[in-house]
């Protein structure tokens, strides 16, 4: 084993490069300069700062703020130190470990996929749920207002006060049996022919005019409203938004995009985040149906509206929006039918005196805002 190596020495005071001969001893390095002066570097004072990868020179430092530097081009120098000074092994990189690095890198690649999938499927939803169920209702309301503002920026808001009052009455009929509820429900109607409805955090319910035109009875609309109210009560929109935000933040953190991190926080409360899991949908269906029944509303309306939506989805591509967010319609209708069949009460007609066909005209009345 070679014990004397050629290297370069920098004294940390000037940029002068001094060729040196380095002898590897058992307790340190003996460095001989060209003028035959000797420097002694005990191993316990040496730090290796470079030479961990193929093609790198071995760079050693001694001293604090502006250290002296020793550079050896040949990486075999490290092997020599390992053999001649076993005690100093921990202070230096072992070149033989480099072969292992490829395997480790591959393993790390696999780990990224496994860990990323675990975070995506489990970690982030669990985190988002935990946060969303603890924030105060007033924060949810604020968040919901942002979502509604985004929607009203895209299409006109219908503000016919008479008809909105009728819609409010349906909501209070639904919520009366379970009073007091922590949310104040506010209905926004959009002049949009899409057959759609959605719940924003904090009790904001958004109805698209297309839905109001297509429903034939107040009971049918009550079915949709009960479903959306349950989403709000179970904080599904808030959880969905938090999930979306954490996902963006994670991606930004992983790609090292600090600006993206800021925009992930900015994107909090954007519509794209409002997607629910199948489990959430089933819960909103089930508890929505219970809510209808507690309010003594005919459960057939909810089933009818699902059938209408299913049919529309088949006929008109534009109506797709609602159902594409609500998959497995047939299973859901079957579940609702099972629950409805168990109902043991005489339904009280909802708004018997109100001509429901009038509701479809809600966007025709233009009131100054």
């Amino acid at each position: 084993m070679k014990t004397v190596w050629n290297g370069a020495y920098f004294d940390g005071r000037s940029a002068d490069r001094q060729p040196v001969r380095i002898t590897v001893m058992s307790t340190g390095l003996r460095i001989m300069r060209e003028d035959d002066t000797i420097l002694w570097w005990p191993y316990e004072q040496i730090r290796q700062t470079q030479g961990f990868y193929a093609g790198e020179h071995v760079r050693l430092e001694k001293g604090r703020d502006t250290p002296e530097v020793l550079v050896v081009e040949d990486a075999a120098f490290l092997t020599a130190v390992q053999q001649l000074a076993p005690g100093a092994r921990a202070r230096f990189h072992t070149p033989t470990r480099r072969a292992m690095r490829i395997r480790l890198t591959l393993l790390a690649g696999l780990g990224v996929i496994v860990f990323g999938a675990a975070l995506y499927l489990w970690g982030i939803p669990a985190f988002a749920n935990a946060v969303a169920s603890r924030i105060p209702v007033s924060w949810e309301e604020q968040l919901g207002r942002q979502v509604v503002e985004q929607l009203t920026a895209m299409s006109r808001r219908c503000t016919d006060p008479e008809r909105l009052k009728v819609l409010d009455r349906i909501v209070s009929t639904l919520t009366a049996p379970s009073a007091p509820v922590p949310y104040t429900f506010r209905i926004t109607v959009l002049a949009d022919p899409t057959i759609n409805a959605l719940a924003a955090p904090g009790g904001h319910l958004v109805l698209f005019a297309g839905l109001l035109e297509k429903t034939k009875t107040p009971e049918q609309l009550a079915g949709v409203l009960a479903h959306e109210i349950q989403h709000v009560l179970q904080r599904h929109p808030t959880k969905a938004l938090f999930r979306d935000m954490s996902m963006r933040a994670l991606i930004a953190a992983l790609t090292g995009d600090a600006g993206g991190l800021a925009s992930a926080l900015e994107a909090a409360g954007t519509l794209g985040g409002l997607r629910y899991s199948r489990k959430d949908e089933a819960a909103a269906d089930r508890d929505g149906m219970t809510m209808l029944q507690a309010a003594r509303i005919d459960p057939a309306g909810m089933i009818d509206v699902f059938l209408v939506l299913k049919k529309e989805a088949g006929d008109v591509p534009r109506a797709l929006t609602y159902l594409s967010n609500h998959p497995h319609t047939d299973d859901r209708i079957a579940d609702l039918r099972r629950m409805a069949a168990q109902a043991r009460y005489t339904p009280v007609p909802l708004l018997p005196e109100y001509p429901w066909a009038e509701m479809g005209k809600i966007c025709e009345v233009r009131t100054p805002q």
């Binding site: 370069a8 920098f10 004294d11 940390g12 005071r13 000037s14 940029a15 002068d16 490069r17 700062t49 470079q50 030479g51 990868y53 193929a54 093609g55 790198e56 020179h57 760079r59 703020d65 502006t66 250290p67 002296e68 530097v69 550079v71 690095r101 490829i102 480790l104 890198t105 790390a108 690649g109 780990g111 990224v112 860990f115 990323g116 975070l119 994670l250 953190a253 992983l254 090292g256 600090a258 600006g259 991190l261 800021a262 926080l265």
Partner: protein, 377 residues
């Protein structure tokens, strides 16, 4: 000083072109880069895993590892560079920045809830002023951090410009550029360059910049005029042709519009790459270190080829080629810049400066990386 510098450069240019005949040509030094995209990719992957596992905290250590590797693969005059930053410094810097951002975010929410719409506007103005003043501070701090953590032959680089002095360059410059509809831009860029270069040191020796804003003005104006002319010509052609093309009911007009759009964008890209290359050549040509002067041979065509190649690589690998693109960029930058003239490196003394990393992390948030200019050394 400027004239003297110019003369010196001319003289050197003559000497270099006649180098074959001269007995001892002045030394020309290039930096070279030995890193490989593959190794860098491995580091990226391991960083990614550790970052996920630590919920983002490892990010700062990962960033340091990459810089460490990249610096150790950079060579000048037979010796490698070294990076001395630590992940811990970056993390502490990030925490400081996070506190500032949390305060800003809280302030915004408070302003909106207490004063409503007016609060939103007032806060928006405050925020604009805040960022206008903070951006130059961050540029200086970030630069100071990076240079102070870089060494070559055991001697540290440093940046000694005071942030408040740069605010006095940056804020009026930004406003003047706005007021003059961009005409002040070359003067502004020149002032920025002068400040950033003149306060940069290697050991105790400063870098020197002697460029003049008015030298840049002509090329800038030419680029702007060409761009405006192109926009005008294309708009006129479109407005004249479009009704007729639409009337004809032929689908061919769509192709015509697409072709026009392609020609239009290619022309604009060509003008601005040309100007950008000119700026680089001018900036380096007017930068000197001790007795040597930098020279850049970059051209618009080469820049265009570099960026086009990068873009294609990134698109076709869905971004996986990022480490290789990084290597390509460094190789390109090093290949284009040379240091010419005699240089007594042994005479350079150590003079390190202490700097915190807070500016560095805020710089990440504000995206001021463009100002982390390459010194050529």
């Amino acid at each position: 000083m400027g004239i003297q510098g110019e003369g010196q450069r001319e003289q050197q240019g003559v000497t270099v072109s006649g180098a074959a005949a001269a007995a001892a040509p002045p030394p020309v030094r290039h930096r070279s880069f030995h890193g490989s995209g593959g190794t860098l990719f491995g580091i990226f992957i391991v960083n990614l895993l550790l970052t996920i596992m630590t919920l983002g905290i490892y990010y700062f250590w990962g960033k340091t590892r990459i810089r460490n590797y990249v610096h150790s693969q950079m060579e000048f005059d037979g010796d490698r560079y070294a990076y001395h930053g630590t992940g811990r410094e970056l993390f502490v810097g990030f925490l400081k920045v996070a506190v500032i951002f949390a305060a800003l975010f809280g302030g915004r929410v408070l302003a909106e809830t207490v004063w409503g719409f007016v609060g939103q506007i007032v806060f928006g103005v405050i925020l604009y002023v805040f960022f206008l003043i903070v951006t130059p501070i961050v540029i200086v701090r970030s630069r100071a951090y990076r240079l102070s953590r870089t060494s070559w032959r055991g001697i540290r680089f440093s940046f000694r410009g005071a942030a408040r002095h740069f605010v006095r360059v940056f804020v009026p410059g930004t406003l003047l550029t706005l007021i003059t509809l961009g005409l002040y831009y070359p003067f502004f860029q020149n002032n920025i360059r002068r400040f950033l270069v003149n306060h940069s040191y290697y050991g105790a020796t400063p870098f020197r910049y002697d460029g003049k804003g008015r030298d840049l003005f002509g090329s800038f104006l030419l680029t702007v005029v060409l761009s405006v002319l192109t926009v005008v010509v294309v708009s006129v052609v479109v407005t004249l042709m479009l009704p007729r093309l639409l009337m004809s009911g032929d689908v061919g007009w769509l192709w015509f519009i697409l072709l026009l759009a392609a020609v239009f964008s290619v022309l604009l890209v060509v003008y601005w790459f040309w100007f950008s290359a000119y700026l680089q050549r001018y900036f380096f040509g007017h930068t000197s270190f001790a007795t040597a002067r930098f020279r850049s041979t970059v051209t618009g065509g080469r820049l265009l080829r570099l960026h086009l190649g990068n873009l294609l690589r990134l698109i076709f690998t869905l971004g996986l080629a990022t480490p290789w693109v990084m290597v390509r960029n460094i190789r390109f930058a090093f290949g284009q810049v040379a240091l010419e003239g005699p240089l007594d490196l042994a005479a350079i003394r150590q003079e390190a400066q202490a700097v915190s990393a807070a500016g560095e992390e805020l710089g990440d948030f504000l995206g001021v990386d463009a100002y982390n200019i390459d010194l050529g050394l």
